[in-house]
Structures are given as C-alpha cells and as structure tokens.
C-alpha cells in the first residue's frame, strides 16, 4: 500500500487525537511539540517506503528501520507524558501558592 499525502494526513490526525485523549488537560502545553514530532514520524515512514520501493533497502532493513521509528515514537510519547506531568504539577503548585495565604489565615496556623 502506498503512503499517500492523504494517508499521512489521516495518520497524523489520528495520532494527535489519540495523544489528546491520553494527555487530557496537559495537551495544550505539549501540543506544538507533539504535532511537530508526529509529523516527522509520518515523513520518516514515507522515506522508508521510498527506499523500499526503489529497492535501495531489503525487507529486513526496512523492518529494522520501522522498528527504530516505532521506538523513537514511543520515546517521544514518554517524554510528552513527562512534560505533561510537570505541567500538571506546575498548575497544582500555582493553585496552592494562590490559596496558601487565605487557607493559612482561615486556619490560624501555617498548613501550607
């Protein structure tokens, strides 16, 4: 099957949707980076397909090339998840900072 520009666009959209679901509220924080990296992934798939079609690489080489792409995408998603957790943590700490004074004042002692 040929990976057309439309296929790549569909694939990219599906990847973005899947990432959005997993990352939920942190999505906006990581969106530009995730979209850029997913786009590189689909570009790489096209390059591998072209190399295979042109007979420049064997099926075994193509399989190894694909595995590298998959592993790299796994790594990128792990990092995006990490960035998302830091973003959630930052939000939580910013909220705590805002309510710190009124909560401590209401309690009459420094809980936060």
């Amino acid at each position: 099957m040929t990976l057309t520009d439309k296929n790549r666009k569909d694939l990219l959209e599906r990847m973005i949707e899947a990432a959005k679901e997993v990352l939920n509220s942190s999505w906006l924080e990581v969106k530009p980076f995730a979209e850029q990296e997913f786009s590189h992934f689909t570009d790489n798939l096209k390059l591998i397909q072209e190399l295979t079609t042109a007979g420049k690489i064997t099926q075994e080489q193509a399989r190894n090339q694909m595995e590298i792409q998959k592993e790299s995408m796994r790594l990128v998603i792990l990092c995006i998840r990490g960035v998302g957790i830091v973003a959630a943590e930052n939000t939580l700490n910013a909220i705590i900072e805002v309510i710190k004074t009124p909560v401590n004042k209401a309690l009459g002692w420094a809980l936060l």
Binding site: R74, G82, A87, A94
Partner: protein
C-alpha cells in the same frame, strides 16, 4: 478546631490539599531535575550528531563499515548503562528509566542496520531523523524538569 474548617469550601480545599501535601507546600508528581542526566543526554546527542555527519561522507565507503564503529557503539552503550544505573537510584524516575530503555533499543536497531551495511547516505537519513526526534524530546523533558515551579 477552628470554626472556618466547618465551611464546606474549607473542608473541600483542605481535603484536596492534605492528599497532596501534608508537611510540604510543593507537590512533586515526578522526579527532581538531575543535571548529570541532562549533561549525559547532551553528550550522547553530540556523539550521534558526529556519527551522522561522518556517515554522510562514509556511507558506502570502507571507512563507514561497522567494524570501524564497534568502539562507538561500546562507548554509547556504556554511557547508557551509567545513566540507567544512576536513574534507578533516583526516586520517581519511572518515565526516565523507560526513556533510557527505549533509547537502548534504538541503539541496538541502529547497530543491526549498520552491521547489514549502509550503501548510501539515503538509508541513514530516516534513522538520523528518528534519533534527532528522540533527543529533542528528551531535552524538552529535561527542560520541563529544570524550569518547573520551585
């Protein structure tokens, strides 16, 4: 108990806060930033950048053969192992440990491809792009850890 805690708003806020923060006002959901890990990632990224620059000239040539690069793979693997052991000792590094393991697999796969031989630089390009994406993502994660709210 202070009368203010009887208000539903106070109770809700306090319950949430107590879950996350008993004696400390900073919530930590993930590991602390580790400068050594960050430096090691940058150092490995430089090694791979040099590797790909060399491959641009050497792919398909005897100088680019796998045998000439065995020490490169040994060196990178040693560095990955050092990083892996270090991060095992740091709390809440599950994501970093998975990242390191993923990078190790990428190195294994690159080595496999190199053993099979690169006849032209075109074959190296998708690997170069994939590894650049991996390093960019790792550095992005390090930057997020470094610049988190203190």
């Amino acid at each position: 108990m202070h009368h203010a805690t009887n208000h539903p708003w106070d109770r809700l806020i306090l319950s949430c806060l107590l879950i996350f923060s008993i004696s400390c006002s900073q919530v930590r959901l993930i590991q602390e930033y580790d400068e050594v890990t960050d430096r090691q990632i940058t150092s490995m990224q430089e090694k791979f950048a040099r590797f790909f620059v060399k491959m641009r000239k050497q792919a398909g040539m005897p100088e680019g053969n796998y045998a000439k690069y065995e020490s490169f793979y040994d060196d990178v693997r040693t560095q990955l192992n050092v990083l892996e052991v270090r991060n095992r000792a740091i709390p809440r590094t599950d994501i970093t440990n998975d990242i390191i393991s993923s990078l190790e697999k990428e190195v294994d796969l690159l080595e496999n491809l190199h053993r099979m031989g690169f006849t032209t630089y075109d074959e190296v390009i998708p690997v170069k792009y994939a590894m650049e994406s991996s390093f960019a993502a790792m550095l992005k994660f390090q930057l997020a850890l470094k610049s988190r709210i203190k």
